[in-house]
Symmetry: C2
Subunit: 306 residues, 2 copies
Amino acid sequence: MYGIAVHGGAGTLPRAELDPDLEKRYRAGLAAALEAGGAILEGGGASLDAVERAVVVLEDDPLFNAGRGAVFTFEGRHELDAAIMDGSTLEAGAVCGVRHVANPVALARAVMAHGEYVLLSGAGAEEFALGRGFSLVPNEHFRTEERWRQLEKLRRGDPRVSPLTISHVGTVGAVACDRHGRLAAATSTGGMTGKRYNRIGDSPLIGAGTYADDRSCAVSATGHGEMFIRAAVAHDVCARVRFGGRSLEQAVREVVFEELAALRAQGGLIAVDRAGRIVMEFNSEGMFRASLTAAGEPQIAIYRAP
Amino acid sequence: MYGIAVHGGAGTLPRAELDPDLEKRYRAGLAAALEAGGAILEGGGASLDAVERAVVVLEDDPLFNAGRGAVFTFEGRHELDAAIMDGSTLEAGAVCGVRHVANPVALARAVMAHGEYVLLSGAGAEEFALGRGFSLVPNEHFRTEERWRQLEKLRRGDPRVSPLTISHVGTVGAVACDRHGRLAAATSTGGMTGKRYNRIGDSPLIGAGTYADDRSCAVSATGHGEMFIRAAVAHDVCARVRFGGRSLEQAVREVVFEELAALRAQGGLIAVDRAGRIVMEFNSEGMFRASLTAAGEPQIAIYRAP
């Protein structure tokens, strides 16, 4: 048995704005990530490799707010955050405020493999990257015209656009359980459109946007990052399973519909346990998501009724 | 009823190196912080104000690894991290990689009060600070000769000194419960001597080094930061109380002696609940710590037998 799930952010474009062609491209992006990660699991590979690979595919897809296609900061730059965690060893690696590394999740994995640190930031993370053989790319690598237009709307004070407008929340992530019952989680994001002051969100924070522990489950979250940090969302799901005796589904629902709702936080999360059970839940209009288990066909969905 | 506890890091100098005069200075520093925070609680003030005030006193004391007296990075600079959290609202603020703000915990409080973000880093955090009326100080403000000697020993490869040598772990923190039963936690640090690559430790990470939730407890941790991040120490204590039905003491002991020990992580933490009960526990040789409740006399201790 194995299982993998990926997300491309919550909560999605308003249904009216998502035309059939765009929806098709989103679904294709999710399917490609699922397939890349799933192939590793199918071949007996590690969940850690599967989540990294799936997230790299989503980082490279300009539709999602991670890697290429990341949103712009207030100053018109891209600052990327990512994390990865191994549920078997509780090893973790993460980077934040990275501007010149094409695949931040791969850099997070390198930080984890190096072992001395868990979280590196900004120019220091890039210095580390160079020492580990990564090539740096210009910040323009991440630019897309659609994201630039979103920033311009925000700067103009367009009332239909806010940093939290759901179309701007497109963090990506993956969780997996491999044939050996090992769990892993990874998350990557460009953060919030128009963010300032080198703001760091929940994605690269172990316990907030990303957590994996073989004793409970693996979680990757997406949504209004500040609230997800305050609720320690990813670790909270794990703790409810481990200490509170909740089923995975119950733990996820409590966090999404009780804790996050109490903070008026929009978003969702994906989770998997050692039995390969997958739960994907959100309190926003939708969440780009896909899942695959050894037993079944790939499932891809955006809104509540797929 | 109210209660406050402060720590000045775990785990302390080897007992042999702590001469009576130095020990007296450490105890005086802890007593001053306890008194400053305790006076606010005694007067009916907020736990949030008490923990901020206590941590400011420790940041200003050159003996502790926070604010003035912070350790040096590998490059010979100071990069400071701090966080604060309000257990009543789950509001939180934090900063990391700050070089020019004398009291990082006060800046963390300002981030929290501003409300838009939780975690700001580096130059962006300082830009935010200027906008909120903070004065910047030169990085040399934080310099002490003792910390410089520690960096020089580390650079020379002195085998008695490692980034984890316990004398280099002097993070400070405070937790409090006020007369209204509101909990708060704050932590501040210069991090690990000789740290590189803009490494961020557990102190500024909500859920790792700092967490407060009126439904369980408030926690400030100190020790080998990377392991504390991986174990999500502060949130884990809260979760064991809230979901696992543990007493505060049992939850703290499980995390310090089981979870952290399994990761071979040295350190400790302080915690308080809404009844004003205080638990301070560590698995290192010692932890600089002090506590005060409405009912009793101040308690100050370093090693296991005070």
